[in-house]
């Protein structure tokens, strides 16, 4: 560590323009140094802790792919027993959260441990290549949900994990995006200062996995919000409390067409039917969360 380093910054080996690395940096700005980070196996663990180096300026532990929430449960219990008060924050990818870690997360939330669980959602298993996870959006081309002659990519919509964890009785559940850094920081601060298990899902575009230039990470992140395919909102005690509104929602094409993972929807020709289905997902999001600022006027 040098003096210029932040709590997460120096010496990591992420791709240039890595959304999750930016997420980690912002999360650590929000939690401060009185924090213990629990990680899952994944991109972030690999690019931030190749032994004997580490990019973490706070205590950090990784055990397995699927058990961060359970390890965090033990840490929290141990701190409680010792009368210590560090924040226990899990920072895990979507594979570790939506899929393989679901049992441990469900258990930890049901038991009510005082932990903040943050998923950096890059919408596929990016550690092992680019494979589908439960967070992969409809029609995305991944190596295990490839687009082909009989397939338009991932056949299922994204799992609604914030709703699932809100249903566990989490006091605070939020979604955020690396493209809105101040909003993300505020939400993390709110989570760590709210007692009990809290969940934040951070949209963190992966330039390598999604196929766009690393200089465009923030722009791609913003487009997800501006099209309604990603909604930034907060839930308190199971009720949606605050939603980031969009003035004039962009067409989903603006977001899809700049990423190689949706290229098959535009080549050889525009796949009207599939793009309409994705537009319908965005429209449904907008309706469900009241995203559109000008909706009433237009009606």
């Amino acid at each position: 560590m040098t003096e210029e380093c932040e709590l997460f910054e120096c010496g990591h080996r992420a791709c240039g323009g890595c959304g999750p690395a930016l997420a980690a940096r912002l999360i650590m700005k929000a939690t401060g140094e009185n924090t213990i980070v629990v990680a899952s196996t994944g991109c972030m663990e690999v690019f931030s802790t190749p032994y004997p180096e580490t990019a973490w300026g706070v205590p950090w532990i990784h055990s397995l792919f699927e058990n961060a929430a359970a390890v965090a449960s033990g840490i929290e219990a141990s701190l409680k027993k010792q009368g210590r008060d560090e924040h226990v924050v899990c920072i895990c990818g979507d594979g570790a959260t939506f899929d393989i870690g679901m049992l441990c997360i469900s258990g930890a939330f049901e038991r009510g441990h005082d932990i903040t669980y943050i998923c950096y959602d890059n919408e596929a298993y990016m550690n092992t290549g680019i494979q589908r996870s439960g967070a992969t959006p409809y029609d995305a081309d991944t190596t295990t949900s490839p687009a082909g002659k009989c397939s338009t990519g991932n056949p299922r919509p994204k799992k609604d994990l914030p709703a699932i964890l809100a249903a566990h009785g989490a006091a605070y559940v939020a979604t955020a995006s690396i493209a809105y850094p101040n909003d993300l920081i505020k939400k993390v601060q709110r989570a760590v200062s709210t007692h009990g298990p809290n969940y934040i899902q951070v949209h963190a575009p992966c330039c390598t996995g999604w196929g766009f230039d690393g200089s465009q990470t923030m722009a791609v992140g913003r487009l997800a919000v501006e099209t309604g395919l990603w909604v930034n909102y907060e839930m308190m005690n199971g009720e949606v409390e605050r939603v980031r509104k969009v003035g004039h929602r962009k067409a989903v094409d603006d977001y899809l067409s700049v990423q190689k993972r949706f290229r098959h929807l535009y080549r050889p020709g525009r796949n009207e039917e599939e793009i309409a289905k994705i537009q319908a997902i965005a429209d449904a999001n907008a309706a469900k969360f009241g995203v559109d600022l000008n909706m009433k006027k237009e009606e």
Binding site: E33, N34, T35, I36, V38, E45, V46, T49, P50, Y51, P52, T54, W56, G57, V58, P59, W60, I61, H62, S63, L64, E66, N67, A70, V71, A72, S73, G74, I75, E76, A77, S78, L79, K80, K81, Q82, R84, E86, L103, C104, S106, G107, A108, E110, R111
Partner: protein, 384 residues
């Protein structure tokens, strides 16, 4: 103080005396009475610990790992399928050098589903890096917990430890147990003094990934720690003997081996049956003895060689099998005695809770004398 206790309750009482700060467990037969008893102790303020009612054994051991890494003495208990569910975490706890102590109420693994005793569960974790101690009776099961914590937490070791005792045969059996006082255990087992912990005042990264440039050295260091544990176990066992009068300084324990030409080698409660059978065979003029293996990991190869000076034939009794090969203990003993000229034969028995009587032990002695071994013993004849 001498008390008549169910094995599980004796173990729970021993664990209470060790003052674990975090307990995380999931109930499973035949371990359940242990964790129920601990839950009651916490509920009655007799044990000042955080008790985490996890949703699975996988999370139980994961929580123990986190709690240990944060600086607490921790405890769990499981068996069979529960231990199998912990498999991945077991390797992690050992590799991360956390001195977690866990009781294994030994039970068969499915399929077919079977809740009764054998030792396939813990034996299957032999390569995980955990210390593995086996108890013959409930007194030993009790005492091994005090010893296990002290060995596991020794800074020369820093490895997790399993205290294994046979499901139902010991867990559900009432025996007289001499339970030490809290004062005596406090004097024997000081509070956990971790080396590296998760602490915001002194940040460090635990459980990083290691490339081929570094990985092998971690395995080497863990192997070295296992080997150092032999000496530490002997020291701690001797200290226990001096304070409590029960001698566990040996990683192995001999019975009537002084002039024996034939010996049984076994783990756990079956040793009691073997002792009785040996007394009867001795009365018939057969020079037989028993070598009980108390520590399966680290494995006491030198101690086994040293314990069998006049023995020419050995019968190893295994309540487990490495399918397609032989019983795990037989393989290890054969390795330990390689080049000694001692004839080692293995016998697989008591799988899935099948009863073993003194007559069976005598029958095995007869097979050994005839040179017939390396076989299942007591199979139903219709499969033969």
């Amino acid at each position: 103080m001498m008390e008549i206790l169910e094995g599980s309750h004796a173990v729970a009482e021993a664990v209470r005396l060790c003052r674990p700060q975090v307990v995380a467990a999931y109930p499973i037969t035949p371990q359940t009475h242990i964790v129920e008893a601990l839950a009651s102790m916490v509920a009655d303020c007799k044990l000042d610990a955080e008790y985490i009612c996890v949703e699975s054994e996988f999370s139980a051991l994961s929580a123990c790992l986190g709690a240990s890494a944060a600086g607490s003495r921790v405890y769990s208990a499981t068996t069979s399928q529960g231990l199998a569910l912990m498999f991945e975490v077991c390797f992690n706890v050992a590799g991360m050098r956390q001195p977690v102590v866990m009781t294994i109420a030994n039970r068969a693994l499915g399929a077919p589903l079977n809740i009764w005793n054998d030792q396939q569960d813990s034996i299957s974790l032999r390569d995980s890096g955990w210390l593995q101690f086996y108890a013959e009776d409930n007194q030993e099961a009790t005492d091994l917990h005090f010893i296990a914590y002290k060995v596991a937490e020794d800074h020369r070791v820093l490895l997790p430890a399993m205290v294994c005792f046979d499901g139902f045969i010991l867990t559900h059996t009432y025996e007289p147990v001499d339970m030490p006082s809290q004062e005596a255990i406090d004097a024997f087992l000081p509070p956990y003094a971790p080396v590296n912990i998760l602490d915001a005042k002194k940040p460090m990264s635990l459980g990083m990934y290691a490339t081929p440039d570094y990985y092998m050295e971690f395995r080497y260091e863990t192997d070295q720690a296992q080997k150092r544990a032999k000496e530490v176990f002997a020291e701690v066992g001797a200290e226990f003997a001096a304070k409590f009068g029960r001698d566990y300084s040996g990683l192995v324990e001999g019975y009537r081996l002084e002039d024996a030409d034939m010996a049984f080698i076994a783990l756990g409660s079956i040793c009691g049956t073997v002792r009785e059978a040996i007394d009867e065979m001795r009365a018939d003029g057969k020079k037989v003895g028993l070598l009980k293996v108390r520590s399966f990991r680290p494995f006491p190869s030198e101690e086994i060689r040293a314990a069998l000076p006049g023995v020419s034939k050995v019968a190893v009794l295994d309540k487990n099998i490495s399918l397609g090969q032989k019983g795990a203990l037989a393989l290890e003993v054969r390795d330990a005695l390689y080049g000694s000229g001692i004839d080692v034969k293995g016998y697989i028995l008591a799988l899935g809770g099948r009863d073993v009587r003194q007559a069976d032990i005598k029958a095995i002695a007869d097979l050994l004398e005839k040179g017939e071994g390396d076989q299942f013993f007591g199979l139903r004849t219709e499969v033969l």
